[in-house]
C-alpha cells in the first residue's frame, strides 16, 4: 500500500456512541481511487434503499483525496457526501479552507457518521482517539462562533467543520462550514449533519508536506508554481467590463486558456467574472426573467471590490489564492470583516434580486457563512419568494407584514434569518427548497422556480452556454455548475492527454455550442469524467484550469499510488464513479430523466432581449447523446446492468 493513502476508513455510530475502523483493500483504490470514489462506493453499500435523508439510516461522509495531505498544489479540497435531502438521491459538496489534509493526518481516508446522537454532540479526533463530546453549549451558535469556541478549546492544531443554525434546523440547503466561512454548500448536507445532532467535527492537524518523500510530486509542484502570477497585478478593472462587452458582441467564440484568466482570478477570485458574466448574459437578472439592460454591471464591478480587499486569502496548499479577507462598512457601525463574496453571491443577491446595495453583498455573504446556508440555493429561494409575492401567490399575512420587493437587500437579510430558523410560514416554506415550496404553492408558482431535480440552479444561464444545461439535467447531482461547461472544458485541455477528447478550434461560431453534436457530447462527457478524477484526487477545479498537461494530475496520481495507468484508463475510473453515482440515484428511486429545468432556460419562450435573445436548443436530445456517450441508456440515463460501471449493491 503506498503511503499516499491511509488504507482504512473510520465509522462513527452516533446512536451507539461507538466507532470502528475498516481496512481498504488495494484493489478498491485501483477501482475508485479515494475521495469521491471512496464515498460513493461506501455509501452505495451502506445506505439502505428508502433511507430518509434526514433520518438515522443516512450516512454522512467526510473524505480526503489521494493527493490531499501530500503537499501537492491545489490539493486542499475535501468532500462531504450523503443522501441529499434536496434531491433524495446522491449528494456531495466539495470545499477548500484548511480542513482537508486533517482527515488523512488522522490515519484515515474518510470518516463516516451513522445514526443520530441523543443530544447535540461534536466529534473530536486526535492522537488516534475518537471522542464524542457534548455540544449543548454550542447548539444555537452560528458556524463562525462555533469554530472560534472550539478553536480556543482545542488549540491551534484543531481543524473544524461545523454547521450553523440552518443545519441544526435541517434547512434542506444548509451547508457545512470551515476556516471562517468556506462552505461545503451544495446538496443540503449541513441538514444531514444537523439531523444527526452533530454540531462539528474537530480534527487535530499538524501541518506537514510529505510530498518530498514521493518521487515526482515535488518536481510537479515546482512546475505548477512556475505558472502562477508573479509581481503586482495591474489589470485595470474597467478592462473586464470591456472584455465582457467585446466577447458578447463577437460572432465567434474564442477558446480560452486557463493561463489567460489566472491574474484576474488571483486578484478578485470568482468575482473577476462578475461583469463579463452579467454583460454576456450568463448571470441571471430578476429571477432569470429579466435581461442585462435591467442591471448595470458597474454595481458589482471589481473596481468597487478592490478597495474592500485587505488581505489575500488562500486555501491550504494553494499557490493561487483566489480569496480575500475584506472590510466593508455596512450601516455606519464597525466595519464588517469577512471573506470576499463569491460570484454566486454578487449575482444571486445582486442582479438576480435587482439589488444595487454594494455593502449588502458582504453582509449577506457573511450571514450565509454564519447561518451555514448555501448561498446559491438561498438566493434562488429569495428570488422565488419575491416573484410569488409579486404575483399574488404569497400574501402579506404569510410574510408577517414584510413586503417582498425587488432591490431591497433587507428583504434578503430578513428572509435568510427566517429560513435558517424555519421561522413563521415563509421561513418554513422556503427552508424546504424551491421545488418543495413550489409544490406547496401550486402549479402557478412553477414559472418562478429555477431548480433541477430539487437542487436550485447556480447563476449560469444555459441559454448562453447549453453545456451548463446538459450538466444541470444529466449529472447525478443535478443543478451543478462545477462539473464541466464549454469554457471549463477548454481550460482542462484534455485533448493533450486523453486520446478521444476533442480539441476545440481556437475560434468557432457561437452557434456551434447549440448543436446536438457528437463532438459537444464527447466534450461534456470528458469534462464530467475528469471532474470525478479531480474529486478523487482532492484537486481544486480552479487548479484544473491550468490544463491537464500543465497540472499533471494523471502523472501525480501514478506517482502517489505507484500506478502506471494512462490518462485514458483514469478517465475510465471516472466513468465508473459517475456510474456509481447514477446507480445510487436509481437505487433510491430517483429517475435521472425526471431532472429538468424551467423551460425558460431552454428558450421556451425565447428571450426577446439581451445576449440570449432568440436562443433555443434541443436539451432533451443533447442529454440523450450525453448519456449515450457516457455508455448509459440514452432515454433513461441508466448505466447497463452487469457492466463494471454499474456495480453496486442495489
Amino acid at each position: 500500500m503506498p503511503n499516499s493513502v491511509a488504507g482504512k476508513i473510520l465509522f462513527v455510530d452516533l446512536t451507539k456512541r461507538t466507532h470502528w475502523y475498516e481496512p481498504v483493500e488495494p484493489e478498491t483504490y485501483r477501482q475508485v481511487l479515494a475521495g469521491m470514489g471512496m464515498a460513493v462506493k461506501v455509501l452505495s453499500e451502506h445506505i439502505p434503499v428508502g433511507a430518509d435523508p434526514l433520518g438515522p439510516e443516512n450516512i454522512l461522509a467526510f473524505v480526503s483525496g489521494v493527493l490531499t495531505g501530500l503537499g501537492v498544489m491545489f490539493s486542499g479540497r475535501f468532500l462531504v457526501a450523503g443522501k441529499s435531502p434536496l434531491t433524495n438521491g446522491w449528494g456531495d459538496a466539495n470545499c477548500g479552507g484548511n480542513f482537508a489534509p486533517a482527515i488523512k493526518a488522522n490515519g484515515v481516508d474518510g470518516i463516516f457518521f451513522l445514526g443520530v446522537a441523543s443530544e447535540p454532540v461534536y466529534v473530536y479526533i486526535h492522537a488516534e482517539k475518537v471522542e464524542i463530546l457534548p455540544a449543548v453549549d454550542l447548539w444555537g451558535k452560528d458556524a463562525l462562533e462555533t469554530e472560534e469556541t472550539l478553536g480556543i478549546r482545542h488549540g491551534i492544531h484543531a481543524r473544524i467543520a461545523s454547521i450553523g443554525p440552518a443545519g441544526e434546523n435541517q434547512v434542506r440547503f444548509a451547508g457545512i462550514v470551515n476556516h471562517g466561512g468556506r462552505l461545503a454548500a451544495r446538496s443540503g448536507l449541513g441538514a444531514v449533519m444537523g439531523s444527526k445532532r452533530l454540531k462539528a467535527l474537530v480534527l487535530e492537524f499538524s501541518n506537514g508536506s510529505p510530498e518530498e518523500g514521493i518521487e515526482g510530486l515535488k518536481a510537479q509542484n515546482r512546475l505548477i508554481r512556475s505558472y502562477m502570477p508573479r509581481g503586482k497585478n495591474f489589470v485595470p478593472g474597467w478592462s473586464l467590463g470591456i472584455a465582457g462587452w467585446v466577447l458578447s458582441h463577437m460572432k465567434n467564440a474564442t477558446r480560452i486558456d486557463g493561463l489567460m484568466s489566472l491574474p484576474p482570478f488571483s486578484e478578485w477570485g470568482t468575482a473577476s467574472g462578475n461583469q463579463v458574466c452579467l454583460i454576456g448574459g450568463d448571470a441571471p437578472v430578476r429571477n432569470w426573467r429579466g435581461d442585462p439592460s435591467m442591471y448595470s454591471s458597474r454595481w458589482i464591478s471589481v473596481g468597487r471590490i478592490t478597495p474592500t480587499q485587505k488581505k489575500k486569502y488562500a486555501c491550504i496548499h494553494c499557490p493561487l489564492g483566489c480569496g480575500s479577507r475584506c472590510e466593508v462598512s455596512t450601516d455606519g457601525s464597525l466595519p464588517l470583516e469577512t471573506h470576499r463574496p463569491e460570484f454566486e453571491v454578487f449575482t444571486g443577491f445582486g442582479s438576480n434580486l435587482l439589488n444595487r446595495d454594494f455593502s449588502s453583498f458582504y453582509q449577506i455573504s457573511d450571514l450565509c457563512n454564519r447561518l451555514g446556508l448555501d448561498a446559491i440555493s438561498a438566493a434562488s429561494a429569495v428570488a422565488f419568494a419575491i416573484d410569488c409575492y409579486e404575483h399574488g401567490l404569497i400574501h402579506s399575512e404569510q410574510t408577517g407584514g414584510l413586503e417582498l420587493c425587488w432591490g431591497d437587500p433587507q428583504v434578503a437579510v430578513i428572509l435568510l434569518q427566517k429560513i435558517a430558523r424555519r421561522e413563521g410560514y415563509l421561513g418554513s416554506l422556503l427552508a424546504e427548497g424551491v421545488r418543495r415550496a413550489a409544490q406547496t404553492l401550486g402549479p402557478a408558482s412553477q414559472e418562478f422556480a429555477f431548480e433541477s431535480g430539487g437542487q436550485e440552479l447556480p447563476m449560469h444561464d444555459p441559454r448562453v452556454d447549453p453545456a451548463y444545461g446538459v450538466q444541470y439535467v444529466s449529472d447525478p447531482t443535478p443543478g451543478r455548475h462545477t462539473i464541466s461547461a464549454t469554457q471549463e472544458y477548454e481550460m482542462f485541455r484534455l485533448w493533450t492527454k486523453v486520446s478521444w477528447a476533442p480539441e476545440p478550434p481556437k475560434s468557432y461560431p457561437k452557434t456551434d455550442k447549440y448543436e446536438n453534436s457528437l463532438t459537444n457530447a464527447k466534450m461534456n462527457v470528458a469534462g464530467s469524467l475528469y471532474k470525478m478524477i479531480m474529486d478523487c484526487a482532492g484537486i481544486c477545479l480552479f487548479g484544473a484550469h491550468l490544463g491537464a498537461d500543465r497540472l499533471g494530475i494523471f502523472e501525480m496520481l501514478n506517482n502517489a499510488m505507484d500506478y502506471d495507468l494512462t490518462p485514458d484508463e483514469y478517465m475510465e475510473i471516472g466513468r465508473h464513479i459517475q456510474s456509481l453515482r447514477q446507480r445510487f440515484n436509481l437505487m433510491h428511486g430517483v429517475h435521472p430523466a425526471d431532472a429538468w429545468i424551467n423551460p425558460l432556460l431552454v428558450g421556451q419562450p425565447p428571450a426577446s432581449r439581451g445576449p440570449a435573445r432568440g436562443r433555443q436548443y434541443d436539451l432533451a436530445g443533447m442529454r440523450s447523446l450525453f448519456w449515450k456517450e457516457m455508455g448509459w441508456d440514452e432515454l433513461t440515463g441508466e448505466p447497463p446492468v452487469g457492466q463494471k460501471d454499474g456495480e453496486s449493491k442495489g
Binding site: 502562477m228 502570477p229 509581481g231 503586482k232 484568466s261 489566472l262 491574474p263 470568482t270 455548475h481
Partner: protein, 75 residues
C-alpha cells in the same frame, strides 16, 4: 531569432495553431502583435511574461511565455 510561446485569444496564421513561434531577439510585445497579425485591440489587453504583468514595450528573450489575459466567465 528567439523561440517563445504565446497564448492569446486570437488566431494567427503565422502560428498555425501552435503556441511556439520565432521572433527577432529583443522584440517588444507591440512588435510581436504586428508580427503575428493579431488585431490592434491586443495592444490594450493586459499581458504577462513568465507570469509577471508587463507593459507592451517589454523586450522578449529566449524561452519567454507570453500570455494575453482574458477573464474567465464562470465561478
Amino acid at each position: 531569432m528567439i523561440h517563445i510561446r504565446v497564448i492569446a485569444p486570437f488566431e494567427s496564421t503565422a502560428m498555425e495553431g501552435r503556441e511556439e513561434c520565432e521572433v527577432h531577439e529583443g522584440s517588444t510585445i507591440h512588435q510581436l502583435i504586428v508580427q503575428l497579425g493579431f488585431p490592434l485591440v491586443a495592444n490594450i489587453i493586459p499581458v504577462t511574461v513568465n507570469g509577471a504583468q508587463v507593459d507592451h514595450g517589454c523586450h522578449l528573450k529566449e524561452g519567454d511565455l507570453v500570455v494575453f489575459l482574458m477573464p474567465y466567465a464562470g465561478g
